[in-house]
């Protein structure tokens, strides 16, 4: 979230698109209710299903799954053509006036630089026109045809309300009604918050869905504002923390990019990742990249990391290819992997195309499952009848199960969607032999290390030189780990302006990442978490809910990264002269001497407005990007592409049907279906009663939602002779599942390009290891194809067929 949970209450409009917070985030949803009641906010829901969130919405429209950019593009066109943008914000705080390099083009659904053979772009033309000093050229009148605003207008002029309706199935009047509500927040004192979750990420255009909303929020002046922002609602309780700490293959902790093969030296690696300001005098926070990286290396390799040896940079693995989960699945399927360690991971259930995953796991020599429960993955070799019809005698994979603790049996910090770290304590002792994940990892490490010590082997250094300073090497305490990610001084850290002033003495915990150094005098395991566990103690354990401003900035509750800031980009909550945009949302503003307000300012604290430093200090040009430069795989402006499996024959906007740079493996391509064979749109989702594949093992929750069902609209049900409660079979090109049919008014037949399109809703959660009724793994159905930026699979839009197999009550 750019903002945070409590801040939702400050919104005048809550737009939920790509998520279902009432279902998946019921506790956080209280703030939406709060906004409605205390702030008279309007709740707008755009979703393929009339879901629990829609049940309390003011305005709801169904939309064909996978056509969100057609909708948001239409909104951008509406805002620009009706002149409903926050003018001063757009001019001063976005790259709307920036001139784009000659050579940038968009034709037939493709941006300049496309290589059809490699399915990638040469992104060199997606750039600003630079002057001789290397600064971007701007036209503050925004009339130049090559300025971002004019390109934006041109790009989205194709997204007329008629076109939007034709593609998405949203009624034109409903679309315009929603546009009007969204546009109302272009007034400087009105804000809209946007909430999304996996309903937007799990598409081949997932990242671009989110970008399109970021652009809308910039045009409306809603970024950095209380009650504004683009807010990702994270799915698992600590998935934000995992991401912050480098769970994703391409990121080290703190969102530092993983070194690639071409980054042979530390200098080369840093060079590619340390930007220079693109505007004169602009503050450019990523300019500090070397401090973060060197501190990370010091935390990991300790005394083995010296200035002379590039801080042991050589010990870091260099990625030779992508290692996202989908590509790991492909490597397994090709028999190129010997073993897999699944720690809190159930890939048989959570990867798309279960049949492929099952075959892939069968090719492993060994599989380790570290989990509190017996996951489907850990028993993938067992035959469970129609639910897992495998032949155990043909599977030679050796499976080890290491019982781990659940969150309630463990101590540590959770990072919530609002980037707030909150410490939690164990509620009970773990059962049996269950051990904490950190102890399991430490024990594995010690044994592997002992083997390397004894037997040597190829490249033992990364293991042997790992810094392992914990008091109990076999079971590091969570406090020690928290102190490590916060960071500490290895030598006295002094103020660069006044060397007599010691900011942190050697051995002390650091208070802020501003104290990190690139000379090896500091160590920090995750620079954005610096400040979480300081000399004052564990800041994440603070529980003071006081909120002096009433705007939800509870600075003494837990610790929010970065530097306890609750709303990112909050400098933008004041106009260029430093005054609040309106009386209603006074947040961070210039008081004559410094930036101040209820939150930690996201700016140089004493940089006066007249110095002209722009507010988005994480960008080298200092402004929000309507034009994304080369950061997105598909192009600088989001463009509508059909899902890889789409019920329509062509893209209504141009000749490029689906995402031209989405990665798809050869074997997976052959497992794609056509709309002739599979005429309906399948979409998967979660239910409030269950948490992923865990709680089907909890009797009470199994009672509340006992069995796999699929939701089918009344129109489709009538067409296929399906009655409520019947048993149906849902098939995709990849496989089939059976489930109870729930015939509902809440899924409507949509009119798309003159054709009727029906949707089949398929919840997750069920499986063959279960206290609830045994069921198929839903991910038998979706295809193995991901978003081109994050490789998140397209679980939300694929093709299926459905038919009745028997009446109610039969299994």
């Amino acid at each position: 979230m750019t903002n945070h949970w409590v801040d939702i209450k400050n919104a005048d409009v809550v737009l939920v698109m790509g998520g279902n917070p009432a279902e998946a985030h019921p506790c956080g949803f209280k703030w939406v209710v709060e906004a409605k009641i205390k702030n008279k906010a309007r709740l707008v829901v755009v979703d393929p299903r009339f879901n629990r969130t829609a049940s309390v919405a003011d305005v709801y429209t169904p939309i064909r799954s996978g056509t969100d950019i057609a909708f948001t593009g239409g909104v951008i066109n509406y805002l620009l053509s009706k002149d409903k943008i926050q003018h001063e914000y757009v001019r001063s705080f976005t790259n709307a006036p920036f001139l784009v390099k000659e050579g940038y083009r968009f034709e037939d659904g493709l941006f300049s630089g496309y290589d059809a053979g490699k399915r990638t772009y040469d992104r060199s033309t997606w750039a600003y026109e630079l002057d001789k000093d290397g600064h971007a050229r701007v036209d503050m009148t925004m009339q130049d045809p090559r300025c971002v605003l004019q390109l934006l207008k041109k790009h989205y002029s194709r997204y007329t309300p008629e076109k939007v309706s034709e593609i998405t199935g949203v009624a034109k009047e409903k679309f315009l009604q929603i546009c009007e509500i969204i546009a109302s927040t272009s007034a400087p004192d009105r804000t809209m918050t946007h909430l999304y979750a996996l309903g937007w990420t799990q598409h081949t255009v997932g990242s671009q869905n989110i970008r399109s909303m970021a652009m809308i929020q910039l045009l409306l002046g809603n970024m950095g504002m209380p009650g504004g922002g683009v807010n990702a609602l994270r799915g698992h309780s600590n998935v934000q923390g995992y991401t912050d700490l480098g769970l994703l293959w391409h990121l080290l902790p703190g969102y530092l990019g993983v070194p690639l093969e071409k980054d042979e030296t530390l200098a080369k690696y840093m060079e590619a990742r340390t930007p220079k300001p693109l505007r004169p005098g602009q503050m450019n926070y990523w300019g500090n990249f070397p401090k973060f990286m060197v501190s990370l290396l010091k935390a990991w390799y300790g005394p083995a990391a010296t200035k002379e040896n590039d801080f042991a940079y050589a010990l870091l693995p260099k990625a030779d290819r992508a290692y996202d989960m989908v590509s790991i699945g492909e490597l397994m399927a090709q028999g190129k992997m010997s073993g897999l360690i699944c720690q809190g991971h159930n890939p048989l259930a959570s990867l798309p195309d279960k049949t492929k995953t099952s075959a892939a796991l069968s090719k492993l020599k060994w599989l380790v499952s570290i989990d509190p429960l017996a996951t489907e993955t850990s028993v993938f070799w067992q035959n469970h009848g129609e639910y897992n019809d495998v032949d155990p005698s043909k599977i030679q994979t050796e499976v080890f199960r290491l019982p781990a603790v659940t969150f309630a049996e463990d101590e540590g910090s959770f990072t919530n969607s609002g980037r707030t770290l909150q410490w939690h304590y164990p509620a009970t002792e773990p059962p049996g032999e269950a051990k904490s994940d950190s102890e399991i990892m430490a024990q594995l490490y010690r044994r592997v290390r002992a083997l390397y010590e004894k037997e040597g082997g190829a490249v033992p250094e990364p293991i042997l030189q790992l810094h392992w300073p914990y008091r109990n090497a076999g079971d590091p305490s969570v406090q020690e780990i928290a102190k490590e990610y916060n960071g500490y001084a290895l030598a006295d850290v002094v103020d660069p302006k006044d060397h007599t002033k010691v900011l942190a003495k050697a051995g002390e915990q650091l208070a802020t990442f501003a104290h990190l150094r690139d000379d090896g005098s500091t160590a920090a395991g995750c620079w954005i978490y610096t400040g979480a566990f300081t000399e004052k103690g564990n800041m994440t354990a603070r529980r003071d809910p006081s909120d002096p401003s009433g705007l939800g900035a509870t600075l003494n509750w837990g610790f929010a990264w970065p530097v306890n800031r609750r709303v990112l980009y909050n400098r933008a909550s004041a106009d260029p002269s430093g005054k609040p945009w309106g009386p209603k949302h006074r947040y961070v503003s210039w008081n004559g001497k410094a930036w101040a307000g209820p939150d930690v300012p996201d700016f140089a604290p004493t940089s006066a407005p007249q110095e002209g430093v722009s507010p988005f200090i994480m960008q080298p040009e200092g402004v929000g990007r309507l034009f994304a430069l080369d950061k997105m795989a598909e192009g600088p402006f989001p463009e509508h592409y059909e899902p890889v499996e789409s019920p329509v024959d062509k893209n209504a906007l141009h000749a490029t049907k689906s995402n031209p740079v989405a990665r798809i493996y050869k074997d997976d391509k052959e497992r794609l279906g056509t709309s002739a064979e599979f005429p309906y749109v399948g979409t998967t989702y979660r239910l409030t009663e269950h948490y992923h594949y865990w709680t089907k093992n909890v009797p009470l929750l199994a009672t509340l939602q006992p069995q796999l069902f699929v939701e089918i609209g009344e129109g489709l049900a009538a067409k296929k002779g399906i009655k409520n409660g019947d048993r149906v079979e849902v098939r995709s090109k990849r496989g089939k599942i059976t489930a109870v049919a729930m015939v509902t008014k809440r899924i409507q037949t949509l009119k798309v390009a003159g054709k009727e399109v029906d949707t089949v809703g398929i919840p997750l959660h069920y499986g063959f290891v279960s206290v609830a009724k045994k069921g198929h793994l839903t991910n038998t159905l979706p295809p193995v194809v991901g978003d081109a930026n994050a490789q998140t699979p397209e679980y939300k839009a694929f093709l299926v067929d459905v038919q009745k197999i028997s009446g109610p009550g039969q299994v």
Binding site: E34, L700, K773
Partner: protein
């Protein structure tokens, strides 16, 4: 018996009035349907607090699970789909005991003290006195109590009388994530409920209303219904009252008249005998 006997205002099948030396604040639970998202946290909390575990059933094509209230499910989210004035509504109602001021269950119960009404408004079942006749089930205008086959006792929401007696709110209230559930004095709940109506009307729910049916003397669970003119759409009776059939069946007056008549027959026999003596075969001597 979570509250004190001092607080018992009415007692089933009782021939004497309850203690009246003191009275407690009249309490109520407010269910604001317009804020409810049907997450079933209240259902889970109810089962957790009361140590209830319903069986894992099957899905019969509905979000409502378990399919009905039971001795193990004292509260249940019910889901209804309806097109109202051209707009699709997914109506979600937290079903359970409404704790009537004029409780049909208590009226119907033949076992002394098996059902009590506290002065705070809670209607509570004392299972140790329950004889399993199920008259309360027939007496209830809302079809709430459920008989457990295993022990032939009837169960329903207690409004967490055990928690309330020590100053805590009911478990469902504590757990509700969206603030759809409130608990407090009935007066303040009605103020809160009526305060919600302006907002709802402004949002287009012209007939939003508070459901506090006077046919049963008002209830201690009140609802804010966005479509207040059609409680049936939420599965609630429009004008509930204790059925006249129940009133007749369990009427104290009729029953007392019946008992007097029965004894009248006995008395009439004695009087007849005194007046006319026995009917004997003429001339036959007594043995």
């Amino acid at each position: 018996m979570a509250l004190q006997s001092l607080d018992i205002k009415n007692r089933s099948a009782s021939t004497s009035p309850g203690p009246s030396a003191r009275s407690t604040l009249e309490l109520a639970k407010l269910i604001d349907v317009s804020r409810c998202i049907g997450c079933k946290a209240c259902q889970a909390a109810c089962m957790e607090w009361n140590d209830l575990r319903d069986h894992v059933g099957v899905n019969e094509g509905f979000y409502t699970n378990p399919a009905d209230l039971s001795d193990q499910s004292w509260t249940l989210m019910r889901f209804y789909e309806e097109n109202i004035e051209g707009s699709l509504q997914w109506l979600i109602l937290k079903d359970g005991c409404l704790h009537c001021s004029d409780p049909g269950c208590l009226k119907a119960c033949p076992s002394p003290g098996a059902i009590v009404q506290y002065s705070n408004g809670i209607v509570d079942f004392h299972q140790e006195s329950c004889i399993g006749c199920g008259y309360c089930i027939s007496g209830c205008p809302f079809n709430i109590p459920r008989l457990r086959k295993e022990d032939s006792k009837v169960y329903k929401c207690t409004l967490c009388s055990d928690r309330v007696s020590v100053g805590l709110e009911p478990a469902c209230i504590k757990t509700c994530p969206t603030g759809a559930l409130h608990f407090g004095s009935k007066e303040s709940m009605l103020i809160e409920a009526n305060g919600r109506l302006d907002d709802l009307r402004e949002r287009g729910f012209k007939s939003a209303a508070v459901y506090d049916p006077q046919g049963v003397g008002g209830t201690h669970v009140v609802y804010v219904l966005p479509h207040g003119d059609r409680p049936e759409s939420y599965g609630l009776p429009k004008n509930p009252s204790v059925s006249p059939l129940v009133a007749l069946w369990r009427s104290g007056f009729a029953r007392t008249v019946g008992v007097i008549t029965m004894f009248g027959v006995l008395v009439a026999g004695i009087l007849h005998y005194m007046r006319h003596g026995p009917l004997e075969v003429p001339g036959e001597k007594k043995e």
